[in-house]
Amino acid sequence: MDPARKRTIRLVVALGCALTLACALVYTSFSAASEAREPSQLSTAEAGVVYQLTGKVAKGSYRHEGTLHFFRVRDRDGSASVPVRYRGQLPDPFREGREVIVDVRKQGDVFVGEPDSLITKCPSKFSAEQPAT
């Protein structure tokens, strides 16, 4: 086969593969993604759909029964909150007042956390609390 023709075929095949991968990547990322929502944006949440709930654990809202945890998540800069039920190990930095991210599905009036999906934004190495003077 003519070498130039061979190279063209290789290029077309390679570009086709790249395009297929890119399309699959785009399609699956949109179909598998969970939308990030603050509690105030969950008033129209659909049952069964997974949302990535972000906000702060409301003060005085946390309790647990065995491995089942109950708390409310409120807006970072607001008072709207939703109840969350979560089964799993809580990260060490989890506290009331701390920012959390958790994948949830609506079940009745409660948002049920996906197992092991909760992460807490720790008061990090880059944002230590200020010392008391």
Binding site: A32, A33, D92, T120, K125, F126, E129, A132
Partner: protein, 726 residues
């Protein structure tokens, strides 16, 4: 002292500007003394930054709480090792470490090339100093590590307990070394593009630094994974967190470059690809630094509100724009000298390996930045989780491992059928033997894991076969024993054998990843003392609670530990003990009572781990402290009402109260929640990583005189005869 530190940073910034101007002026006029002056300014920068860093380290070592940074990241109860390493736990300190490492590595490369690359080096110097100027400017104008507190506090906040792990404190310098070392090939690539000196010399001269970048970044990534596994209470080592991904991306493109550059050296091909990879790796290294500091993406690693996002974005845009413009301007000079002769050739295998590595990088990039992409396209921020990443990374990793076995077997330019039959027989047999063993053992639940075991066997078969063939060839030329012949063989071509060792290590590492991902069993249970649970054939019994009040070396109360002693047994085997506990560090919030503040501060889980070649048993406890709450509140009330106590009396009473609390926990233990995981072959991950780093070190080690001596024609003929018989 803070003034001295700040002065050092201002001088460092001035040195950067001078060095850039001198290097560019010297390059344009060809005046060597000016170029040398520009180069020496990099040495001066390193010297000044060493002084600045020493000032900060000294402040941390003696817990000088007049430094705002010390007060917010250290304390008198923080052990010395962690006080010294707490410097880079802060935004400001880590930026200082970044630019310090950049200046040190830049000094090393410019010293090594001071009599070579005379046209390229001045531009590379200017680029490296440009990075230096950027970071020094951040430290001078936005994030000063030398801010002072008007009234120093009596006690500092202390190092975040989650970071109190040896590997976590070594992990950042390794990562930053990787990032900053990747700036070296980036800078020389820019220099080569500006001057049009696009041969292989700049690549050869900077290769040790590129390899060192890859090596140190790899160590940093593995240390981070190890920390995650043994310190964070979730039992995993990789979570596809944006910050983890940020370090992986430049490592992937750096790996691709280390492979494809061989094609340029051997055949003069892929010049555009190589220079693009180097530039992309440099950009990704800065992008990683940006991700860690800007807070642009949600991450488990918290980022404080930062003003660094915009400056980093400007730098990244400038790097990308400049890189594209330079490559486009030099596209004619970057044309390949040869074309790919056959798809059955080592060049083709390397090219495919590169495509897989770059695809992996693209997948990681897309998944990491998907929240921003989706928000830009749809107006809604959405993110993808680990299953999405695994869907793409698993097949790509399988292909990558297989290619790392195929690459060394195929001849350059064009492989013949006879060549393929001869070289593929042993690795294929090894692969099939493993497949038979795995199927005989009934391990069929995960096709991906089974394929990974087979491909890893193929890689190990390849490396073993190549070593054996090399030893035979060596012995044909000498009377060496087999071990001596193997040593001599490796010494003669450290780079090649280092690379093979890296391939073997990666194969071992991926076996561990595949097994631990596919066959892990985990349970989350609530147990009272005496109760037991079975996980993957292991019976775990909650023997007894444990608790203690820990004082620092200066006598101040540091933390409270509450946990459990467990007994684990499997069948009739001997039982072994595991201990896990949670450490509670006091909060500095003055509104809290003296007792309750010990339970309202940071906490960190100490994992109970029994590591083994076949399986790890991992456990973490979450104590229930609700039963203590009444006593805690009572303690706070008592202290609130106790006036007229001296600090010493108050401290002694508080210690006694806390001791009573810890005693009550062990005397009347509430049920505790345990996460228990049986993970097969996790140890193989760390072992594989060690082999990889051994290979990296071998490749980095300078070649001896014997390696540089050319082979004689008679010797080559004997080797050819011997290999023909093999």
């Amino acid at each position: 002292m803070p003034t001295a530190g700040r002065a050092c940073l201002i001088i460092a910034l001035a040195i950067c500007f001078y060095g850039i101007a001198a290097s560019l002026y010297g390059a344009r006029t060809g005046r060597r003394e000016v170029i040398a002056s520009g180069r020496r300014s990099v040495y001066a920068l390193a010297g000044v930054l060493v002084v600045a860093f020493a000032v900060l380290e000294a402040a941390f070592a003696r817990t000088d709480l007049s430094f705002a940074l010390v007060a917010s990241h250290s304390s008198t109860t923080t052990p010395l090792f962690y006080r010294l390493t707490a410097v880079w736990s802060s935004q400001e300190g880590s930026l200082l470490l970044w630019v310090l490492l950049l200046s040190l590595w830049s000094s090393a490369v410019l010293f090594a090339t001071r009599r070579r690359l005379r046209e390229v080096a001045p531009y590379a110097t200017a680029v490296l100093l440009g990075f230096g100027a950027f970071f020094c400017a951040l430290l001078v104008f936005l994030e000063s590590p030398f801010d002072r507190l008007a009234v120093p506090p009596a006690e500092g906040v202390g190092l975040n307990p989650l970071l109190r792990h040896p590997s976590m404190m070594i992990h950042p310098p390794m990562l930053y070394s990787g990032y900053t070392l990747f700036a070296v090939p980036f800078a020389f690539a820019v220099g080569a593009l500006i001057t049009g000196r696009l041969g292989s010399e700049w690549i050869r001269r900077t290769r040790p630094f590129t390899l060192a970048a890859w090596f140190l970044l790899g160590i940093g990534i593995v240390l981070g994974a190890r920390w995650s596994y043994s310190e964070l209470g979730w039992g995993g080592y990789w979570a596809w967190d944006p910050v983890e991904n940020a370090s992986l991306m430049p490592w992937l493109t750096g790996t691709a470059f280390l492979h494809s550059v061989m094609i340029q050296e051997k055949r003069g091909m892929l010049k555009v690809w190589n220079v693009s990879l180097v530039l992309a790796t440099g950009v990704l290294a800065i992008l990683g630094t940006f991700l860690v500091r800007s807070g642009i993406l949600e991450s488990i690693h918290a980022f404080g509100a930062s003003t660094l996002g915009i400056p980093f974005l400007v730098l990244i845009v400038a790097m990308i724009g400049g890189s594209i413009a330079l490559v486009a301007a030099r596209s004619a000079a970057l044309r390949s000298e040869h074309r790919l002769d056959s798809l059955l050739s080592r060049e083709a295998a390397f090219l495919l390996n590169n495509l897989v590595l770059v695809s992996l990088c693209f997948v990681v990039f897309w998944g990491t930045f998907f929240p921003l992409i989706s928000e830009a396209l749809t107006g809604d921020e959405a993110s993808v989780g680990p299953p999405w990443f695994n869907r793409y990374v698993t097949p790509l990793a399988l292909v990558l491992v297989l290619l790392s076995g195929i690459g060394p077997l195929i001849a350059w330019r064009r492989a013949t059928a006879a060549n393929l039959r001869r070289t593929f027989a042993v690795p294929t047999a090894a692969s099939l033997a493993v497949l038979a063993a795995v199927l005989a053992a009934g391990v069929t639940e995960s096709i991906g894991a089974v394929l990974m075991f087979c491909f890893a066997a193929f890689v190990l078969g390849t490396v073993g076969q190549e070593l054996w063939r090399g030893v035979r060839a060596r012995r044909a030329m000498s009377d060496d024993s087999v071990p001596m012949a193997a040593v001599a063989l490796v010494r003669r071509n450290r780079r090649r054998w280092g690379g093979y060792l890296v391939h073997a290590g990666m194969a071992i590492l991926f076996v561990g990843v595949a097994a631990s991902s596919a066959f892990q069993q985990a349970r989350l249970v609530e147990l009272s003392p005496g109760q037991e649970v079975t996980v993957s054939g292991y019976t775990v019994t909650y023997e007894r609670p444990r608790s203690r009040l820990v004082a620092a070396s200066n006598g101040r109360l540091e933390r409270i530990d509450l946990g459990a002693d467990l007994e684990v047994r499997r069948g009739d085997g001997a039982p072994f003990a595991l201990a896990t506990y949670k450490s509670y560090f006091p909060s500095m919030d003055p509104s809290l009572g003296p007792v309750s503040r010990f339970f309202e501060g940071e906490a960190t889980t100490e994992v109970g781990l029994k590591a083994g070649w076949r399986r790890d048993v991992w456990t973490a406890v979450a104590p229930d402290i609700r039963r203590l709450q009444e006593r805690i509140d009572e303690g706070d009330r008592v202290f609130r009402g106790a006036e007229g106590l001296s600090d010493a009396q108050r401290g002694a009473f508080l210690a006694e109260a806390l001791r009573g609390l810890t005693r009550s926990y062990t005397q009347d233990p509430p049920p505790a929640t345990f996460r228990i995981i049986a993970s097969p072959m996790v140890t193989w991950i760390w072992l594989g990583a060690l082999v990889v780093f051994g290979g990296g070190l071998l490749a980095l080690w300078p070649a001896g005189a014997a390696a540089r001596r050319p082979a004689t024609a008679a010797g080559l003929a004997r080797v050819a005869r011997e290999l023909g018989r093999a």
